[in-house]
Amino acid sequence: MTPAASKLYTDDVSLLMVLIDTNPFFWNSIKSTLSFSKFISNVLAFLNSILLLNQLNQVVLIATGYNSCDYIFDSSASQNQNQRAESLLQKLEEFVEKDESLCREDSVDAPGFSLLSGSLSMALCYIQKVFRSGPLHPRPRILCLHGSPDGPGQYVAIMNAIFSAQRSMVPVDSCILGAQHSAFLQQASYITGGVYLKPQLLDGLFQYLSTVFATDLHSRSFLQLPKPVGVDFRASCFCHKNTIDMGYICSVCLSIFCKHQKKCSTCGSVFGQSQAQDSSTPDRKRKTSVDK
């Protein structure tokens, strides 16, 4: 690397991975509030503003469908600068058609849920490739523009993606477009140190994107960004894939169940005694009663 190039890599060079939710079921449900085309125009303006902030900034767009995920746009790929928007829109259209035509019987969740785990993993793979590209690279972060409800079948996959992101020090920002909060993305942003936001007025989406999510990681240390309104730490039970806040844990494999069971379906251990599950005896009493 020439010295000139290394001087250009200032603190605020960023690689932004944007994951947009293209689930038609979700977009149909909020079409009165925000149409998909308006959403895309907001996102395009936002991507342009990111690329304008610093000449070394990179942006990658990944679409999250309900059957598949795919790369839509990569600003570092060599292509005609004037045709960027057109090629992005064309690729997006091709992806949506392909996603709809795919029909997976063995999918983990119903079609109403998007494959967030898939797109998170693809983003992390791209980031790993960038990490290994050389000594100088932009600081990566992930932005999820998500609206579909949480797919409980993807719980383990999403949690593992979150821990990988945490380990690689990649913040996961979340901008929730749907009506309800997303527990998985709240946990993702909390664990990785990202920003979680549910905009109140989706008409002004570009303003939220440019004031909150366009900030690079270096600047975040001296900016006042929206604080989380609480984190929903609920997990999915392994038996029915329901979201639960109180459950039963197998002591051998730590699987979570919503109801009392005789045998653990994950590790096969048979549960012996059924004492002390609902006891309200204080801490000290229980400890002395264990004989070892």
Partner: protein, 272 residues
């Protein structure tokens, strides 16, 4: 966490769930002095682990540094009344290798069924309150600012998780604590080796890696391609000798990216 020095075992931190306080204690001033008494350490461990309920599995990990010139110490597995397995193999000179050796012990060892009966334990996953909320922690008996948790059964508030509620005894945990170990429960299927197809029919080979979009067509760039087993996605994976490689999830295959704590690794690339 215990320290052994001057022939005495000291308790550095108590048994608990959060790694941050432990890391802080270790990074603080730790002084080495005198001999390390393994027996005193084991006695202290035994007395501390006795307090754990019967469903908990006991494991001791000993990091032992040699004072003599011989740099290799190996202890064999010792089974006691509770299941204690001790195994330490340290090369004092090679620190990067040390990290790998220590990380080898990160996966949990198989549990022996006779020593601990499986139990189904009732636990709760409380929600974290908003930042800026003032609450009174019932565990520390003092006011805390920001981000506490509330037990749903008795409405007592706690400042940090993986504790038992002081009032009603219900175990409060945070679900990410459990989710960290799920990659041991549901490991990823091994990837399949694909013979280099670059020279053969170029129409069959996808132009770029499914996961990271790196080009697969550069003739001198790769020596191996890997095939994701179920969906026949061709991928380029890279090996690293220091951290774990990235994983690729297929579009809907519910597999996980391994936490880099346990080092799984993948393909090798030869770049000329």
């Amino acid at each position: 966490m215990l320290t052994l020095k001057d022939g005495v075992a000291y308790c550095l931190t108590e048994l608990g769930g959060s790694p941050e306080s432990r890391i802080k204690a270790v990074m603080g001033k730790l002084v080495c002095s005198g001999d390390a008494s393994l027996q005193n350490g084991l006695d202290l461990v035994h007395s501390l682990l006795n307090q754990i309920p019967s469903y908990g599995h006991h494991e001791v990990f000993i990091l032992y540094s040699a004072l003599s010139k011989s740099s290799k110490i190996r202890c064999s597995v010792i089974g006691l009344s509770a299941e204690l397995s001790i195994y330490a193999n340290i090369f004092a000179k090679k620190l990067p290798h040390l990290k790998e050796l220590v990380l080898e012990h990160a996966p949990p060892p198989p549990a022996i069924a006779e020593f601990a009966i499986a139990n189904l334990i009732k636990m709760e996953f409380p929600q974290r309150a908003a930042e800026g909320v003032i609450s009174f922690c019932s565990y520390h008996k003092e006011a805390k600012f920001g981000g506490g948790y509330t037990c749903r059964r008795c409405k007592a508030s706690i400042c940090e998780l993986s504790t038992e509620c002081c009032i009603c005894g219900l175990t409060l945990v945070s679900s990410p604590h459990f989710a960290r170990s799920y990659h041991h429960l549901f490991p990823i299927t091994p990837f399949g080796d694909v013979a280099p197809l670059v020279s053969s029919d170029p129409h069959k080979v996808p132009k770029s890696c499914f996961g990271c979009q790196q080009s697969l067509l550069a003739p001198d760039a790769l020596s191996a391609l890997f095939l994701f087993p179920t969906l026949s996605r061709l991928m380029l994976m890279q090996e690293t000798c220091q951290e774990a490689a990235h994983w690729v999830l297929s579009d809907n295959y519910p597999f996980a990216i391994a936490d880099t704590e346990v080092s799984f690794f993948v393909v090798q690339i030869q770049i000329n």
